[in-house]
């Protein structure tokens, strides 16, 4: 039997903290989520009972640690329905996953005069690596603009593909506007034009059931452990076996080596080829625990719960005079970006904190979006499965209080 979402809150010890004499209302989940006790315990147990370096050890602890590390890989592979566990590469996070592809795929497949398309909705981590790759390779960096509603238009994208397009990089959910991008339309379109697609799933994999990489037919799928209730310092790059076999290594040393002499070096098979150095076994184990935790819920219920909370949040925010909610996408997930007329986002953030409400303010590493909207930043409230209507009420109450305070 799946666990009910309403029980989730009690699993997160930090949520009973008090901040500035108020109970913590944590609405900064797009930056990082909190961790359930099960994940915290998994880290402790790993270090108390198992800890060892992996792969090349023959002693009992080394074998246990290796088993746990590879089991975590298998869990993640099942979580996103990868065809093979070896298509799951452990990285430090989304940023490293994308940089790995930019360096390695870029090295092999991007040449002077080629083109790469990224959307204007991207986090800097899925924008700058491509910008820099294009600069380095003399390729053309093309940006797919978003519409007035904060969406991507597949028709506009269609017109951008050329014979020279080598990759399309975009997110599944925008961390700044919450737009859910129509990958089910966009990926087939790209493939019809012979263009592989990298999906930045940093803001989607913890919220949407649509993370089946085979159903999506994503070529690359990147996400971070710390945004999906897992530990920091661990992330995932999923890549189709087809690409992993063709891509050169990213970093060198440790487990990714096959043979070495001073005149010749050969490399191991994927995934090891892309995992140089001692891996973050603790992180992988913690991420595995987070996957188990997420799977303890019914995913349909989870999606429906988060959706209804978001809708409630939108309603409550829209009821506040002078408040602008940014973006108006057909489908939105977990992100509530806004400003109140005459109040700087930074001031709003600082003053909300005085009543225990944690939001993020500023550009959210999406300067191109802010520039397009001609604003210097937003206040962003972002939801996770442990949030509830009381959190939204605390937010809107806090906003009203700030308005009263600043607008006399």
């Amino acid at each position: 039997m799946a666990k009910s979402i309403s029980e989730a809150r009690a699993d997160f010890p930090i949520l009973s903290t008090w901040i500035n004499d108020h109970p913590l209302v944590y609405l900064d989940n797009a930056a990082t989520t909190q961790k359930p006790q099960a994940v915290i315990d998994a880290l402790r147990d790993y270090y108390t009972l198992v800890n060892s370096n992996v792969h090349r050890g023959n002693h009992t602890l080394a074998i246990r640690a290796t088993d746990m590390y590879e089991e975590a890989r298998a869990k993640v592979a099942r979580f996103i329905n990868a065809a093979h566990p070896h298509e799951v590469i452990f990285t430090r996070g989304t940023t490293e996953s994308i940089n790995l592809v930019a360096a390695s795929f870029g090295e092999a497949f991007v040449h002077p005069g080629d083109e790469i398309i990224v959307s204007q909705l991207e986090h800097h981590s899925n924008f700058v690596p491509w910008f820099e790759l294009c600069r380095r390779k003399g390729a053309r960096f093309r940006v797919l603009p978003f519409t007035a509603d904060g969406e991507l238009d597949p028709e506009v994208l269609k017109g951008m593909f050329t014979e020279k397009t080598r990759l399309l990089a975009l997110n599944q959910v925008s961390n700044s506007l919450g737009t859910v991008n129509p990958l089910e339309t966009i990926i087939p379109l790209a493939h019809a034009n012979g263009v592989p697609v990298l999906v930045d799933a940093a803001q989607s994999v913890q919220h949407l059931a649509a993370r089946d990489v085979q159903a999506l037919d994503a070529d690359f799928y990147a996400f971070s452990g710390h945004k999906m209730y897992g530990p920091m310092g661990i992330g995932v790059l999923y890549a189709k076996e087809y690409w992993l076999e063709k891509m050169p290594p990213f970093l060198f040393g440790g487990e990714m080596i096959d043979q070495v002499s001073s005149v010749r070096v050969t490399f191991a098979q994927p995934p090891y080829k892309f995992e140089a150095g001692t891996p973050n076994v603790e992180g992988a184990v913690g991420l595995g625990a987070a996957v188990d935790y997420l799977n303890s819920f019914d995913w349909q219920e989870l999606e429906a719960y988060e959706e209804s909370l978001l809708v409630y949040g939108i309603e409550q925010l829209r009821a506040i005079p002078g408040l602008t909610l940014y973006g108006n996408p057909r489908r939105r997930s977990s992100i509530l970006p806004f400003n109140v007329e005459g109040i700087q986002h930074y001031d709003m953030g600082i003053l909300l904190d005085t009543s225990g409400v944690a939001v993020r303010t500023g550009q959210h590493c999406t300067q191109p979006i802010m520039d397009a909207l001609s604003i210097t930043g937003t206040v962003r409230a972002s939801l996770a499965l442990y949030n509830n209507r009381e959190d939204i009420d605390a937010l809107t109450h806090g906003i009203r209080r700030v308005i009263k305070m600043l607008k006399r």
Binding site: Q344, D347, I350, L351, T354, M405, L406
Partner: protein
């Protein structure tokens, strides 16, 4: 002219009379609103303090070994802090900037919000002013 230590003591006392966070922020914001207005043409990139999440500008002037400045911000809170710096330092001898005691901000409770973040807030503002003051002092010396 009063010394920065005297001014700091007075500001500290003013704030100590306020009880809640709200009152303190209120008062801080009021300080900002009482700042002399900074002409729009001075709010240039060159006068902007880099690294602040909100924009804050300082236009400095060195006269007879003393540093004077105008300041503004799009954030009311940052503007309030800038106003405290203004009260504390505007027109002080350039040397006073180097040795100014900022523990005042600790007692106000704002410091943590504004100083800890890398190159954000108060630290960035103060070091902007300090380097202007250094130049000013150097001009006197040379």
């Amino acid at each position: 002219m009063r010394t920065t230590a005297e001014i700091a003591a007075q500001i500290s006392e003013e704030f100590s009379l306020l009880e809640s966070w709200e009152e303190k922020y209120d008062y801080l914001i009021e300080k900002g609103q009482n700042l002399p207005e900074m002409p729009a043409e001075l709010k240039s990139e060159e006068h902007r303090v880099k690294g602040c999440q909100s924009s804050v500008w300082f236009a400095t002037e060195c006269r007879e070994g003393r540093l004077y400045f105008q300041t503004d911000s799009d954030s009311l809170i940052v503007k309030g802090l800038a106003a405290l710096l203004f009260e504390l330092l505007n027109g002080q001898p350039a040397e006073a900037y180097a040795t100014v005691d900022l523990s005042l901000f600790d007692t106000l409770g704002f410091w943590r919000h504004l100083s800890s973040q890398r190159s954000n807030g108060l630290t960035a503002m103060v070091s902007f002013l300090k380097s202007a003051a250094e130049e000013c002092a150097a001009r006197m010396g040379g």
